[in-house]
Structures are given as C-alpha cells and as structure tokens.
C-alpha cells in the first residue's frame, strides 16, 4: 500500500506539471510575432544646377543663380561654378567652389585677369556635404578683350576703366550669344571689350552708373583697360 501511494504521487506530479505548463501557455504565456515586414526609405536625388545668368561689370564676369534646396527648407551648402572657355584655342576651365550665402540668390565674380582674352560660358553644380548634383545648362556667353601689356604705373592697375554696372542685372538673354550688361556709353572701352557681342536689344531697364567708380575692386587682380582709364585719385 505504501508503494502504491508513492507511485500515485510521482505520477500525479509528473502529469500535473505537463498539464499545467500547457494550460499556462494557452492562457497567457503564448508568444506571438509579427509577420515579416519590409518598409522602404527613399533618398532624394541631387538636383541639376540651375542655369546661371551672367553679366559684365567693370571687365569682370558676375555669375548669379537661384539657390537650390536638397529637401524642402534645406539649401545646398556649396556650388561649383565653372567657367568654360568657348574660344579658339580654348583656355583652361576656371572653377570656383562657392559656399552658399543663405540668400535666395547666389553670385560669384570672376576677375578680369581670369577672363581676359576669352569667351566664356558658365555652369553651376550644386553640392551638399559630399554629394554633387549634375551641372546646369551652359549660361549665355561673355567675351572679354585680351589683356594689354602690363602698365608701368601701379596706380593705374587699381583703377578700373569701365564704370561698374548695377548688380541688379541678371536675367540671361534668350539668345545663346554673348550676354552683357546694358551697353555702356563709353567709347573708350566698348568697341574693344565687346567684339564678339551678338547684337542683342539693349535692356533699357538696366541701370548703369554714369560716374566711374575709381576705387579699386578687391576682386580684380589686373585691369586690362587700365591704360585708357582715368587715373584713380
């Protein structure tokens, strides 16, 4: 009888444990998982640069373009501005990395020393961090006269001959030919500086300063028009 009781006890405990475990699993310990799920995360594309507008100011090329965004509210941090020589023989391209200024319009100036004696068109390439977009379409062309021999008088070097036009000029002309500021009624330089100009209708809305700015421009490294210009005070 004692042996029977022991067997009963062992069997009951074993069976109870099994049944209790099963009941626990069904009642509250049952793990469920999600079905395999995949989501997509899309990365933006780098935009193509916007075609810049170019103007001549005091023998320099002023290139301006609209700021671009990589995402709504996030502007590009840099732009690559490349001046492509379209003269024969071609000159080496001139590249500028321009940090974005934060405004809606960006601009950069190419000095006369870089542009002299060439015909140029520009492209804009947006950059964000390490990413680079596609270059823009080529801008209209600007032609620059060849640089004359270096003047002997250093004071002449610092004096730009052509009065700078207003910086508000920026809209590119619809033609693919040269684009420049409104014609400047300066007989001293106009014929020499614009030999390649396609006869485009003058933009009468472009204001032009009549008084020559005789102060030195820090971005100008040399002035090919120097010998014919009035000497700066």
């Amino acid at each position: 009888m004692r042996r029977t009781g022991r067997l009963l006890l062992v069997g009951a405990v074993a069976l109870s444990l099994g049944v209790a475990g099963t009941v626990y699993a069904y009642a509250g310990g049952w793990t469920v998982t999600s079905a395999p799920t995949r989501f997509t995360a899309k990365v933006v594309k780098m935009p193509r640069g916007v075609e810049p507008s170019v103007t001549k100011q005091s023998g320099q090329a002023v290139v301006s373009w609209s700021a671009q965004e990589i995402a709504p509210g996030v502007r590009m941090d840099h732009y690559l501005v490349v001046a492509h020589s379209v003269a024969e023989p071609p000159q080496p391209d001139v590249t500028r990395a321009v940090a974005a200024g934060g405004s809606t319009t960006e601009s950069v100036t190419f000095g006369t020393g870089e542009m002299a004696g060439g015909k140029w068109r520009w492209t804009i390439t947006p950059k964000y961090r390490e990413w680079t977009g596609e270059p823009s379409k080529l801008s209209p062309r600007l032609a620059f006269p060849a640089a004359p021999a270096a003047p002997a008088d250093p004071a002449v070097i610092a004096a730009p001959a052509v009065p700078p036009a207003s910086p508000s000029v920026s809209a590119p002309t619809p033609e693919a030919g040269d684009t420049s500021t409104a014609p400047v009624p300066d007989v001293r330089t106009s014929p020499a500086s614009e030999p390649e100009n396609v006869p485009a209708p003058p933009r009468s809305s472009t204001p032009v300063e009549e008084e020559p700015d005789l102060g030195p421009d820090p971005s100008v490294s040399a002035s090919p028009e120097g010998p014919t210009s009035p000497v700066a005070p």
Partner: protein, 157 residues
C-alpha cells in the same frame, strides 16, 4: 502491479482536470476557438502585422521618423513587447545597406502596447531612420529596404 498503475494514472488525470478548472481556461470559449479555429492561421504560425508609410526625403544628416501601426488579426488581445528594425537592402550598386549609409535606431515610444482583438493601433513612438553625413554620394536617389519585426504575447483574460 497493473492495478497500481491504473490507480496512479486515474489519480493524475483527476488532478490535471482539477488544475485546468482552477486556471479557468475551459470557461473561455473564445480562446479555444482562436487556438484551433482561426481560418487565416489554421495549421500555421500566428502573426500580427506591422504597417507604416515609407520614409521619403532622406539626405545626408537627415533624420526621419517611421511611424508604425500594429494590426492584430487574431481573435484575442496581444501586447507588443519589442520592435526591431534593420536596414536590409538597397537598390543601388555602390550604396551598401550598411550603417555608413543608413541607420535605424530603436523604437522611441513606450512598450508594451496592447492591441485589441482584430484591432489596429498606431504606436505613439516611431523608429528613427537617419542618414549619416558621410553617406556615399552613390546613395543619392537610392531606395533602402528596412525590415521590421515585432514580438508580443497573448493577453490572458
């Protein structure tokens, strides 16, 4: 001897039946039906579903929040205890699915979350998806695949 075994087996069965009654499972017919009768999962694993909208507009330095909803097709409440996410693939050669190009962080909300039987719950938190500043430029325009999985439990009544 066989009589003793018979007594032992009968006693054990009686104890097990008593234990089942004590836990209360038999008086809950819903659970029994779900366990054996769900037409969508008969004979197969039981799953809940995770749904969400694709993330768009990623760029270097950007952090986007991936909102997740839990859909429970099962006939009983569940609690979701854990969500895990992993970048699994991209559609661009040269833009690998690594942490150097895209990172997913831990779910930002509180867990566990209870989802009603045959119910749907949008989770309060989100899974942050970020693109490192140094992500390769070859990832521009790429589409990443993010695998998300969850683990939960059936809620006892």
């Amino acid at each position: 001897m066989s009589k003793r075994w018979w007594i032992a087996a009968t006693s054990a069965a009686a104890l097990a039946a008593a234990l089942i009654v004590a836990v209360g499972s038999p008086d809950n017919p819903d659970e029994t039906i779900v366990l054996v009768g769900d037409s969508h999962h008969r004979g197969g694993p039981l799953y809940f579903e995770l749904k969400g909208k694709p993330v768009r507009g990623l760029f270097p330095g950007a952090v986007k929040q991936m909102k997740i909803s839990v859909v429970n097709p099962l006939g009983y409440r569940i609690t979701v205890h854990r969500l895990t996410a992993k970048v699994s693939d991209t559609d661009r050669r040269g833009c690998s699915a690594t942490a150097a190009n895209l990172q997913v962080r831990s779910y930002s909300g509180r867990l566990p979350v209870t989802v009603a039987a045959s119910g749907r719950t949008e989770l309060g938190g989100a899974i942050p998806v970020s693109m490192p500043i140094g992500a390769t430029r070859k990832c521009a325009g790429a589409r990443f695949t993010i695998a998300i999985s969850g683990v939960g439990q059936r809620v006892p009544r």
